[in-house]
């Protein structure tokens, strides 16, 4: 391994990326557009439905309150989890019929209305106020969009580019020099990793200025999750590109991998409540672990220990992808 040769390849690739204005603009503008679009589209309160969590849903006498239309009653099992959801405006109210308690968020207009409705239909409930700012859809979405951008950029920016290099003879030219396959591949990975993280950081900062995302965890932890995710997805790109020489086939394969990931990894919507089989399938997709980890940090304030299963999954997948890619790699 010669660091000088590694650097030579990496610098050339970096220059190519930064000077390809069209692709560069796309890398920035696409995620910002998506986030901006969703921030506008979901800026209202969404459907005219109030969400009320209710404990011991089956074991109490029906309240009059429960007969009111346009309120969705959601059974909850864990009281403290549910209280956190009230703090974050994910639930408008939480009631516990057995203890005659209810919780609302002081800053939530929906909570105020529901309190009036409850007091009008049933008696004897004690009010427990909590505080906390709401989690908007964009707060939830940002991790997904950043991860999705990471995925497309990693898969196509590494996989597609290496197939193109192989097809047009660039790889053959490098093979004729003392550069080893390992030096070449690590340079590609390092170059892409560096720009993926800088692009993601910039997109995050730009959209954060306007939208002011909720961030309950540590930025360093978030960076670690995204870095591991980027390395894993780049390795997957390398695996695809290991020996293909047709750009069409590579493009098809990359699409076949990236589109299911985009829908099954929870970029746009949570997989809670869908077919358990799909939820299991999503666990073998690297993007799922990036998004779950990032959301846990941003929204739940999780630390690295709490998302360790996600991190371990990413590391394990990276190892598998890299080993297979290194064994099957062909210059020509």
């Amino acid at each position: 391994m010669s660091f000088r040769r590694f650097l030579a390849i990496m610098q050339a690739r970096n220059k190519e990326f930064w000077r390809d204005r069209a692709a560069l603009a796309w890398n920035f503008i696409f995620p910002i557009m998506v986030i901006g679009g969703f921030a506008v589209a979901f800026s209202g309160d969404g459907p005219d439905l109030y969400k009320v969590g209710i404990t011991d849903a089956e074991e109490h006498q029906k309240l009059h309150f429960e007969t009111i239309r346009y309120i969705q009653f959601i059974p909850v099992s864990d009281l403290s989890d549910a209280i956190v959801k009230v703090e974050r405006h994910q639930l408008d109210m939480l009631i516990s019929p057995s203890t005659r308690q209810f919780w609302i968020n002081k800053s939530s207009p929906a909570g105020y209305l529901l309190e009036r409705l409850l007091n009008g239909s049933d008696e004897g409930f004690r009010r427990e106020a909590v505080e906390g700012e709401g989690i908007r859809y964009v707060d939830w979405l940002i991790s997904g969009i950043l991860a999705m951008n990471l995925m497309f950029s990693a898969l196509f920016g590494v996989g597609f580019v290496i197939v193109r290099y192989r097809k047009n003879g660039m790889l053959k030219r490098i093979k004729a020099t003392p550069v080893t396959a390992f030096e070449f591949i690590t340079a590609q990975v390092a170059s892409r990793l560096w720009l993926l993280l800088s692009v993601s950081a910039l997109v995050f900062l730009c959209t954060d200025l306007v939208l002011d995302f909720r961030m309950y965890g540590s930025y360093l932890d978030l960076l670690i999750v995204f870095a591991l995710g980027a390395i894993c997805l780049i390795s997957l790109g390398l695996l695809i590109a290991a020996r293909l020489a047709s750009e069409e086939l590579a493009g098809g394969l990359l699409n076949a991998i990236s589109w299911p990931m985009m829908f099954l990894s929870g970029v746009w919507f949570s997989l809670e409540g869908v077919n358990p089989w799909l939820v299991k399938l999503a666990q073998i997709l690297p993007l799922t672990h990036v998004i779950d980890g990032a959301r846990a940090i941003m929204i739940d304030g999780a630390g690295l220990m709490e998302i360790m299963p996600n991190l371990m999954a990413l590391v394990a997948m990276t190892a598998v992808f890299l080993i297979i890619a290194a064994r099957t790699f062909r210059w020509e």
């Binding site: 610098q11 050339a12 220059k15 190519e16 053959k172 020099t177």
Partner: protein
């Protein structure tokens, strides 16, 4: 001492097709060695095996007595028939990138000077003309101050002026004592540049030697042409034929023939002597035109 590059019984099969079929030859240090033949003769496959890019199906290649390895990589300069360069970087940055890949290099200013890259040094590599691009690819092949340089059809697709400029560059490299391996299907190029040639067809060597020796071996005679009007009605001892208003005399001993013509008081004012070319040789060897 072992030859500079020694090739023994080299074979390369592609899905049952024998692209190269058991060829052997040796390349001496400091010579320009040419592989000639029509498209599909196996030249590029052969040269890519010599470059270590393509694995032989069987046979051996020894560089200074040893199999191709690390040292060969460091000491070989390679110019492929087609090479894509990295997009969005300039000529100068491209040279720098390749320079950083080698342990021993020549200073970039010398390289830029010798390959005449100065006027388009800061241009994106995508915006070069054909001749400029070939000069850059040659410069890349020379960046590690190689002992041996491989040029695979380096002037294909260039206009005559650019081709002539390129030949001058190669002549200069030869003068520095470098060994060169050149493939071409331009016979004039081979004749001007190569010290030794092999002619290939269907994966096999059909002739080998210096260009002049090959021509002398296959064509004993040169052709003298004289205007028919200057010619006496009969001249014994001369093998001659009339074609249009020219008389062509085949001569295996030019001195003798000219002495004889002077004795016969034939005016030599309109005399022209035509050499057989490598094109004629290829036609004679295979019964085919070279570029079909």
């Amino acid at each position: 001492m072992s030859p500079f590059l020694q090739v023994d019984n080299l074979t390369r099969h592609y899905q049952g097709v024998k692209a190269v079929d058991g060829i052997s030859f040796a390349i001496e240090r400091g010579r320009c060695f040419g592989l000639l033949g029509p498209n599909g003769a196996g030249k590029t496959t052969t040269v890519e095996m010599l470059e270590g890019i393509n694995e032989p199906t069987s046979g051996t290649i020894l560089y200074q007595g040893r199999p191709l390895g690390r040292r060969f990589r460091d000491e070989a300069g390679i110019m492929f028939q087609t090479t894509a360069l990295q997009d969005y970087i300039t000529v100068h940055e491209t040279l720098k990138m390749f320079q950083q890949m080698y342990p021993r290099t020549i200073p970039l200013p010398d390289l830029i000077e010798s390959c005449s890259l100065g006027e388009f040094l800061d241009r994106d590599t995508r915006k070069l003309s054909g001749g400029q691009r070939q000069r850059l690819l040659l410069a890349i092949a020379l960046v590690n101050d190689p002992e041996v340089i491989f040029l695979d059809e380096p002037t294909t697709g260039l206009d005559p002026q650019a081709r002539r400029n390129f030949w001058e560059l190669v002549q200069r490299i030869k003068q520095q004592g470098k060994s060169i391996v050149l493939t071409t299907h331009y016979m004039e190029e081979a004749y001007r540049l190569c010290d030794d040639i092999i002619i290939m067809d269907h994966g096999q060597i059909i002739a080998q030697g210096t260009p002049d020796a090959l021509l002398a071996k296959h064509f004993a005679e040169v052709v003298l042409q004289l205007p028919a009007a200057d010619f006496p009605a009969s001249c014994p001892e001369l093998e001659m034929q009339v074609s249009g208003d020219l008389v062509e005399i085949l001569s295996s001993d030019l001195n003798h023939t000219i002495r004889r013509l002077i004795e016969l008081k034939v005016s030599l004012a309109g005399l022209r002597i035509r050499q057989h070319t490598l094109e004629d040789l290829f036609l004679a060897l295979t019964g085919r035109e070279l570029r079909t």
